[in-house]
Symmetry: C2
Subunit: 290 residues, 2 copies
């Protein structure tokens, strides 16, 4: 499916554009749009289409920082790893991103980033990019057996957070529990996910999807407790070509927690293409109160 906008082209032309971002731009591309302010400094704006309980969906903030690397003139190679630390809430409005290539090696490159609002650092991140060559290859972690997405109902986007409207999610296992029902014995959720508007997957979209699982505490406790990601690490295990080959088809995601203890729990996720290609792993720590 081709990327499509909310308005027909004739209407969007009249709406005009700001910095190349028109009203027909896909919500993801609109949210990660960055305007250069000077060497290693960019300005962006939060986008209401990605609103979460407090501030924007963490996945879109991660994608925005990755975009600061991807559009840097000295960038060398494709994303290999990203760690983002959510230091404080991102307020609605403008933010600045400082991006710095710390070291460039022959086959990889190390980046440091900070997102700021006024005097406050709201997120820090490190990114690795790399040039890859053919090597001996093997995938040990194949996708779990699940029904095809066409055989599963689309999950309701009625979750009081707006960002989920950007996705078509279909739960094969571990759907959002009913408030006040019985908590699940295990924290596993397995779901198909694709962009609701058919935007093809790339490193930016994959990054956001790596954070698209609802908090595991909700599943175990069968209620929405205060919860938020404090740190997220993504390892990109596929090449850009393998990611692009997924087009706008569903990806399969599986997530579980190892331990809930003392205000924090982890979440460990894997994302595969429908063709079984393991695209990425994602590991995060969430704050929770229960």
């Amino acid at each position: 499916m081709r990327r499509r906008g909310r308005f027909p082209a004739a209407v969007s032309d009249r709406l005009g554009s700001v910095g190349g971002v028109t009203e027909t731009t896909h919500p993801l591309d609109r949210a990660v749009a960055l305007e250069p302010l000077g060497e290693g400094l960019l300005r962006g704006h939060t986008d209401d289409a990605w609103s979460n309980m407090v501030g924007p969906f963490g996945g879109i903030t991660a994608a925005t920082l990755l975009q600061a690397v991807l559009r840097h003139p000295e960038r060398h190679g494709d994303p290999l790893a990203l760690t983002i630390n959510f230091a404080g809430p991102v307020a609605p409005g403008a933010f600045e991103v400082a991006v710095r290539p710390v070291r460039t090696n022959r086959s990889n490159q190390h980046w440091s980033l900070e997102m700021r609002q006024g005097e406050e650092v709201v997120t820090t991140a490190t990114v690795l990019t790399a040039l890859r060559r053919e090597t001996w290859s093997d995938t040990e972690a194949g996708p779990p057996p699940v029904p095809a997405p066409e055989d599963l109902p689309r999950a309701s986007a009625e979750r009081s957070v707006r960002w989920v409207e950007n996705y078509d999610m279909r739960f094969a296992d571990g759907p959002m529990p009913e408030e006040g029902g019985e908590g699940a014995a295990e924290s596993t959720t397995t779901m198909w996910i694709r962009d609701a508007a058919g935007r093809p997957v790339d490193h930016l979209a994959l990054t956001a999807m790596c954070d698209s699982f609802y908090p595991r505490s909700f599943l175990r406790l069968a209620r929405a407790v205060p919860a938020g990601t404090v740190t997220l690490t993504i390892h990109y295990l596929a090449t850009a070509e393998e990611i692009a080959a997924q087009g706008s088809d569903f990806l399969l995601g599986a997530v579980h927690s190892h331990r809930f203890h003392g205000n924090y729990h982890d979440e460990s996720a894997r994302l595969w293409g429908r063709d079984g290609t393991l695209l990425a792993t994602s590991n995060q720590l969430m704050y929770f109160k229960a």
Copy 2:
């Protein structure tokens, strides 16, 4: 078991000390020793006891950066997460560590670090520390069933890298393969590990142990290929008290890879106390050539 040195106290007193680090100091404490140079800047030295194929064992570099946070006067809480990126080889000799508390919240704190040698950044890192309170708790990932360490032989330290001599490792599954033998069908290694000199485990020792598994490519290919960690993320899932309760007893580690492809593979590890407490997860990406 109490911490013990290589020499009786009477001998060590005569040997004297440099910056509080005596010859009887445990190799881990000696390696992570840092001398303040000014605000947010420290100096350390590589230690031959931790030599790896190229430069020092990555686990000791990670512990050294964590130590820069732990001894910072503004530190607030215990380690919650650490990501370290190995940007280039650490040369034998002195290095500087720049450590900066980026943001201090009520219950957690975000840190950015760089290790430098001359003009070169050799590692970057981010660390989160946090104050924890009692919450609803559960561990889903229990230890795999393995024989007691007393029923397993101690692995040979003859691995041409000196750092392994600091550990007593006992393989329950997936030992180092014989060079030229048949590669394993799966990348899992399960092993008991403890400090060879009986130093009790703390966040520093646990950090180093999180990187103590030999490369998964060696196991799959039954040969030592060029390999090195490029990024390592540790999530500390236990409190300082739970870690201290392990004393100098064996910890159980289990590691496996999800995918080997295009010069990189991941490694996903969990470490438990002998009492079954899940202490940490560790996820890394390794460069490899095969």
